[in-house]
């Protein structure tokens, strides 16, 4: 069977699906997003750095235990900062005792 299929007449190869429409769609989505960011200071970036500055003024946190997630959407964006803060109060009372 295998031999027959190898040497027998083959059907015309399936046409390669056009990739240009995919390129077009990807570009339109990407550029709409990038144009929106252009020119204005990036609010999300600004919030991120100021929040981290405030937190680090009060507690020393391990940069390894910092988790930041930013999602930029068309109408709404999301900034998620997850900081593991050492339990200062407990440590203080331990030192006093």
């Amino acid at each position: 069977m295998m031999g027959l299929r190898l040497f027998g007449s083959r059907a015309a190869p399936a046409p390669v699906p056009a990739s240009a429409p995919i390129a077009r769609e990807r570009l339109q989505i990407l550029l709409a997003h990038e144009r929106g960011l252009r020119g204005q200071p990036d609010l999300l970036d600004l919030l991120r750095s100021e929040i981290l500055a405030v937190v680090s003024r009060h507690v020393a946190f391990d940069p390894e235990k910092l988790n930041i997630r930013m999602e930029r959407g068309h109408d709404v964006s999301m900034l998620e900062i997850d900081i593991e803060v050492p339990n200062v109060a407990e440590r203080l009372s331990a030192a006093v005792a």
Binding site: V16, P21, L30, E34
Partner: protein, 271 residues
Amino acid sequence: MAKVLVVTSGKGGVGKTTTTAALGAALAQMGEKVVVVDFDVGLRNLDLVLGAERRVVFDFINVVQGIANLSQALIRDKRLENLWLLPASQTRDKDALTEEGVGKIITELRNKFDWIICDSPAGIERGAMLSMRYADEAVIVTNPEVSSVRDSDRIIGMLDSKTVKAEKGEPVQKHLLITRFDTARAARGEMLSIEDVLDILATPLLGIIPESQDVLRASNVGAPVTLNDATCAPSRAYIDAARRLMGETVPMIVPAAKKGLMDRLLGRRAA
């Protein structure tokens, strides 16, 4: 009045230097006095494409630093008496190019030439920024390919915000030049079409340059393609583009799929 035209793209390898040489030569042949200026400090190539690499003595930065005057650094083309080259420096560090220094040279060139065509380096760093800084008009060279289109969009944003003209509230006049276009591949849906690129970038079309061996052949021998063989498809497209830059209305021709002949009218006009 002199016009400063920047040839830019963001992405490398799309045909900025080829375009600078071809448009420069075509405008010079139309009787305009043209200087092509290489802004690619450290990686100059416009001299090579123009076949003037052995005639470079002084360069742009020598003039900025006062080591040479402008007339010593300008190289006159051997074939076209209206075409001149101001080469980039090959060795010095990129910071030697300052906004003030570039401004001074551009002002001086404006008094001597009809067209000052600035060949931008790739990227969005200092050299690229300075090459567009004083531009009145811009040719954005784009290949019908996603990364090139994205970078062109970024460059268009910069032309609208980082140029002296934009800062004064006068827009830089922008022209889109699509290069390395393969009609057959676009027709098969393998390559972005002219309409796709125009829709996405929303910039008036200056011309469509077909992918062609003639471009490589011309650079091999050190001649602008428009001078090396004025009748080949890319040359005809470049000459039409130059005429549009001069304000003429020339019908836009989409390169034909076979043998590089052009036969189909798109009917779209350049702005």
